[in-house]
Symmetry: D2
Subunit: 369 residues, 4 copies
C-alpha cells in the first residue's frame, strides 16, 4: 500500500475492504514519505519491518528481491492525486498488479499513456470507483442494458457534499488541504474528487459515454484555488441529455450521490445514502421499489451481495466488491474485470472538457473519445 498512514481517510477503507474481500492480505507498504512515520504506521498495522519502506523505489527493490511466491502481488495506491500516475507506472512496470484511487492521473494524456502500459504489461489495473461496487448499481446497469427503460432521454446525476463549505484547508484538515491544492489535486478540486464519480456512474449505468458538456465550475470559499462546486449540462452518445451537479459546499449534505435515468419506457432512481433500494418508474403503473438481495435480481447484482434482503450492506462492502473482483481477475483473466483504466480515461476526458468549457464561458465542448 502506498499512502494511507496516520490521519488518512481512504487508506483504512482499503484495508477493511480487502479484509471483507477476504482473498487479500496487507503485507507491506509506504505509508508516508517520511521513513520514520512510515515505519511507525507499519508497526501499528502489525507488519514486518522489512516490508515497510519510505519510498516506492525501495519497496519495489525489496519485493522484487523476494521469491515470486513470497512477493507482493498487488500495489494499492491511496495517495493524493498527483502521485497516482508515477506510482502506477512504476508498479506496473515492475510487474505488480495495481489498485488505485480515482482519478487515475492528472491529465488525459497521462491516462492514455497508462492505458497503453496496462495493455502492454498485461497486469490488472483497478480504479476504485467505489460506487460501482454497489449491488443495485449493477442491477441498474443490467436493467438498462436489457432495454427495460428504452432509449435514454434524460439523466440527472448529483454528488453533493457540505464538508468544504468553510475553509477547512486552513485549519489543519489534511484531507481538505490536498484536495484544494492544485499541485496535489490537479486541474480541478470538486470535479476531480467527486464529479468523476458522478460521471462514471452515468457511464456505467447508461452504458453511454458523455460526448459534450457545457459547464461552469465555481469557487465559493474565498481564497480557495480550485473549484468547490459546479454544474454542467451534458449530452450522451445516444442523444440523451443530462445535468451533473457536484459540490462540496452544500451545507447539510453528507455524501449525496444520486442518479436518475429517464428513458422512453421507464425510469430508475438510486441514492448512495440509502443504497439498498432501487426505484423504477413506469407510465400508468405503480412505481417499483427493488431491494438488494431479492432472488429476482440480475446475476451481477447477486454476485455483489453477501446478505439477505433487509440486512443492509454499505460502502465498505461496495469497496470490497471492487477488491474481490480485482483479486479474482489477478487469478483468472476470464473473471469479470473491475473498473479499469478505460473508465479512468473517460473520467479524465470528461474532466478536461468540463474545465475547458467552464473557462470558455460555458460553451458546448466535445469530450475526447
Amino acid at each position: 500500500m502506498l499512502g494511507g498512514g496516520a490521519g488518512a481517510f481512504i487508506g483504512p477503507v482499503h484495508r477493511l475492504a480487502a479484509a471483507i474481500a477476504s482473498r487479500l492480505e496487507l503485507v507491506g507498504g509506504v505509508f508516508s514519505s517520511d521513513p520514520e512515520r512510515s515505519r511507525e504506521a507499519g508497526r501499528t498495522l502489525g507488519l514486518a519491518a522489512e516490508r515497510v519502506h519510505g519510498d516506492l523505489d525501495a519497496l519495489v527493490a525489496a519485493e522484487s528481491a523476494l521469491p515470486p511466491d513470497e512477493r507482493v502481488e498487488l500495489v494499492a495506491i491511496v495517495t493524493p492525486n498527483h502521485l497516482h500516475y508515477d506510482a502506477a507506472v512504476r508498479a506496473l512496470e515492475a510487474g505488480f498488479h495495481v489498485v488505485c484511487d480515482k482519478p487515475p492521473t492528472l491529465s488525459l494524456g497521462q491516462a492514455r499513456d497508462l492505458a497503453g502500459r496496462v495493455a502492454r504489461t498485461g497486469r490488472t489495473y483497478a480504479l476504485t470507483y467505489t460506487y460501482l461496487g454497489y449491488p443495485l448499481v449493477q442491477e441498474a446497469r443490467a436493467r438498462v442494458a436489457a432495454g427495460a427503460l428504452g432509449p435514454i432521454r434524460r439523466v440527472v446525476v448529483e454528488y453533493l457534499q457540505g464538508w468544504l463549505s468553510r475553509p477547512e484547508e486552513l485549519g489543519g484538515n489534511a484531507q481538505a488541504a490536498w484536495r484544494t491544492d492544485p499541485a496535489r489535486a490537479g486541474i480541478s478540486g470538486c470535479f476531480a474528487d467527486i464529479g468523476v464519480h458522478a460521471q462514471s456512474l452515468v457511464r456505467f449505468i447508461t452504458g453511454e459515454p458523455i460526448v459534450e458538456v457545457a459547464a461552469e465550475l465555481v469557487t465559493h470559499v474565498p481564497g480557495r484555488r480550485l473549484d468547490d462546486d459546479g454544474a454542467a449540462l451534458f449530452r450522451l452518445a445516444g442523444g440523451g441529455r443530462g445535468t451533473v451537479t457536484a459540490s462540496q459546499v452544500c451545507v447539510g449534505e453528507a455524501n449525496g450521490l444520486s442518479i436518475r435515468v429517464y428513458g422512453e419506457r421507464g425510469s430508475l432512481t438510486w441514492r448512495q445514502e440509502n443504497p439498498n433500494e432501487l426505484w423504477f418508474g413506469w407510465p400508468d403503473r405503480p412505481t417499483e421499489r427493488v431491494i438488494a438481495g431479492m432472488a429476482s435480481l440480475s446475476d451481477a447484482a447477486r454476485r455483489y451481495t453477501r446478505t439477505p434482503p433487509g440486512h443492509p450492506e454499505g460502502y465498505l462492502e461496495a469497496f470490497a466488491n471492487i477488491y474481490a473482483d480485482t483479486a479474482a481477475r489477478i487469478r483468472d483473466p476470464h473473471a469479470p474485470a473491475p473498473p479499469g483504466i478505460e473508465l479512468g480515461v473517460a473520467s479524465m476526458a470528461f474532466l478536461e472538457a468540463v474545465v475547458a468549457s467552464s473557462g470558455a464561458g460555458g460553451r458546448w465542448t466535445e469530450v475526447a473519445g
Copy 2:
C-alpha cells in the same frame, strides 16, 4: 370565468379554489368560444343564462350594464396561453380585477405592457403561481429573508412530469394539444408551461432574480413542435448558481416540482408532492423537518394554513390561498398582494432568455431586468 369548459383541467381547479377561499362566487363566464357549448357549460354549473356568453366582449358589455354592486368584480382567465394577454387587457380596461393562469402573455413585451396597464388602472391582477400558495413555500421564503441560510450559493430546482412522454397531442388529449402548439402556447412548450413555475419558486424563495442562463431546450417526441424537456444553468443576482430542469417526458414522474437552496450557513428542501414538510440542513447539526401548522412558523406560513399539524392540505388549498389573497386585496389595498404581474414579467424575461440561449448554442445569456 373565461375558459374552463368541458374537458378542461384548470377551470374546475379555479372553481374549487374559489369555493375554499370562500369570499368569491362564480356568477358567469365564457366557457367556450362556441356560444352553445358555453351555455351548456353554464347550465352545468348552475349559472343564470344571461350571465353566460360566447365571447369576452359580450360578457364585458353585459356586466358593465349592470349596477356596480351586482356586477362581476373579478375575471378569471383560464384559457390557453395565447388568449391571456388580450383578455387581461380587456378586463382591466373595463374596470374588472383579474386572476390569470401563468404565463401572463406570449412575450416579454406584452408582459411589460400589461404591467403598465395594471399600474394605470389600479386593478388587482393576480397570476396563479399556485405553488407559491403553499404554507411551507411561504415559510421557506421567510426563513431565507431572515438570513437563516446565509448568502445563497447553489439552487437546484426541478419540475419533472411524465405525461407527455408519448405524443398525446395526436390522440385527442386537449391539454396536450394546445400546450404543444406554438400558436396557442407561444415560444416554448415545457418551459412556458412548467419551467416558469420552477423559476418563480426560485425568485420567490430566494428573493433574488435569475440574471443569466445557459440553457438547452429539447424536443424528444418526434414531430412535436415545441420543447418537451430542457435544462439550464443559471446565476442569481447575489452570485449564487443553480440548475433548473423541466421536463414533461420523465416517465414515472407525476408532478415533481422541488427546490433545494444551499446557503453559506444552512440549506432547505421542499417537494411539492409532499408539500407539508420543509427540511433544513445545517453543518454538524441534525437535519430538521418542519411541518405545516407548527406554532413556531412564520406569520406568512400560518396565514396560509387551515388545519393543525398532520392534517394535510394540498394543491387546492394552495390555489385557494392565491384566490383568498386576491379577494382580500380587492377589498383592501393594504392587504398582502397575491403573485402579480411583476412575477409575470420576470417569468417572461426568463423564458425569452432560455429560448435565446438554447438557440445560441447554450451561451450565457442575460435575463432582461
Copy 3:
C-alpha cells in the same frame, strides 16, 4: 350546524368541506348554547339572523315553520360527544338529515337506538369518519375486497398524536378540556376520540369486524380523568390478528394514523400524513407505490379524486368526500352511502369492549356483534 362557534376546530372544517363538496350551503345553526355568542358567530359567518338560534329546539321549530323547499335539509352536529345522540334524535325525528362527528353516542345502547331511528325515519345519517374519505383508503378497501392480499393474517393500526402530552386541559385549551372530561367525552378519552378512527379504518379496509380485544387503557398525565393512551391486541372475524395503538401523549407525533394489512399473498400500507401514496408488498417481487389519481385505480378511488396524480389532495378533500356522498345520498337513495350508523354501532361496541377488557386485567373480551 350545531356547535362549531368561536375557538372550535372541527366546525370550520365542516364548513370548508361542505364548500368543496359544493352541493351544500350553510344557512343557519346553533353555534353556542349562549344565544348571544351564537348570534355573534352567525354574523361572522354572514348568516341571516333569523336562522341562528341558541338551542336546537328553537332551530327545529323555526325551520319546520318554513316551506319545505326553503327549509334546512341537513343538520351538521359538530359538538362535543355528549350532545351527539340527543341532537341526532331530535333532528332525525323532525325530519332532517344528519351529519355527525364520531363517536355517534356515549354508549352502544344509544348507538343501537339511533340505528333504529335512522332505519325508521329513512333519513340519511352520516358519520364523519373523515379518513374513509381518502381516495387511497377506498383503493385499499377495493383491493382487499378483490382478494389481492388473500386472507388477512395481521393488521397493525396506529393513531399517534402528541398534543395532550402535557395537561393542556388545565391551560384553557377548549379542545383538550372536553376531550378529557368524562361528562362530555364519555367512557373514554383517547380511544373515543381517535381509537375509533383506527378501528373504523380496520373495519372498512379489511371488510371484517374486530370480534375480540385484549386491551389496556392508560392515563399518563397526572390528574387526567380519562385514558390518554392505550393499546390492544385484537382478532378479526376471519381469524386475522392485529394490534391497535392510540395515544395522545406521543411527543413528536402530529396526526399519525396509519394502517398495515398483511395477507397470505400480499400486504398494504397507508399513512394519513402522506395520504396520496399506497404501498403494496409482495413475496419475491418489488414493493409497489400507487399514487392517487392514477388511471388504473378503482372506481371508488377515482370517484373521490379531484386532481391529477402528483397534485396532492388532503384532509379537507377527504372530509368533503363524506359530505358529497351525503348530499348525493339525500338526493338519490341509490347513490353510494356515506359512513353511517352501522359503523358507529361497531365503534361503540369496540369502545365498550376495550374499556371492559382494560378494566378486567386485559383479558380477551368479545366485541358485541
Copy 4:
C-alpha cells in the same frame, strides 16, 4: 467455530464480521456433525486439516493439547438453538471464551445456569444481539440515558419478516426447517428467533426491563408446529407501556426491525433497514434527523463507526462491532463488555413469560426478574 457449514446463513456472517473486526482469525472448527462434511467445509475455508473436527469434544481435546499461545481463544457457536447451551458449557469449562447466537439456551433455567458458569470461569461470553452493534442504537441508548426523552411512556417495537409466509420448511429450506422444529428451536419459533431481538432492543435502548406481558403467539401456516407470528402488550419497570409485534409471515417485509420510544419530553425512532438515521421528535419543535458519523454523537456511537457521515455502514459492521468488543474484552477486562449472558437471561425470561401468557388466554404475566 461450531456450525456454519455449507448452506448456513449466520456462519459466513460471523466470519465476515470477524474479518472486519480485524483482531480475530478463524483457525478451526466443527462445521458439521458429519466429520467428512466438516472437513470439506474446513478445506473450503482454507483451514489446517488437524484443526477441523466432527464434534466439539474432539476440538476441545485437540486444542487443549496445543501450547496456550497457539490454542484457539474463542469459540463461536453458530448452530441451531438446541445446541447453544451444551456447547457453551463445554467451551467455557474448557477455558475458552465464547461468542454465541441468540437465544443463549432453550430455557430460563439453563440461561441462569450459564450465567453462573460465566461468572465462575471468568471467561468472556458474548451473545450476538447484532442490532445492538449499530452506532445509532448506541446513540439512542446514550440519549435516553442522558434523560433527553424524559420518563418513558410508550414503546412500539416491531420485527416483521415475510420469508416464512409459506411452508418453506417442507421444501428443503434448512433455515426454515430448524426454526420451525420444537426439538431444535425450543418453546417458540418466531419469538425465539426474532422476538428476542426486539425485546433486547427495548431493554438496551430504554435501560429498563420488561416486567409484564400480555401476549398472543399465533401459527398461521397450517401444519407448522411453532409460532410464526405474535404480539404482546408489555409494561416496563419504570411504568412505560409498549407493544411488541414479531412475525415471519408478513409478506412484503424483509427484515423490518424498528423501535419508537416516546417519553415525556421527546421521542426517538430507529429502523434497522435504514440504520444510519435516528429521528428525534419534540413538542413544538422540528423533528431532527441524526446520521451516523456526525461529530456531535456520543462516544459510544462514534466508537462503533468506521466511515464518515453519508458512507453507509450496515449489518456486517454492526456484527463486527460485537466481535470487536468481544476481542477487546478478552484482552482487557476493563474494556466495554459486548452483549452478554445477562441480556440472554432477560430474553429467556421474556420468552417464557410470553409463551405462558399466550397459553393462559393472554393474561398479564410477570417476567421473572
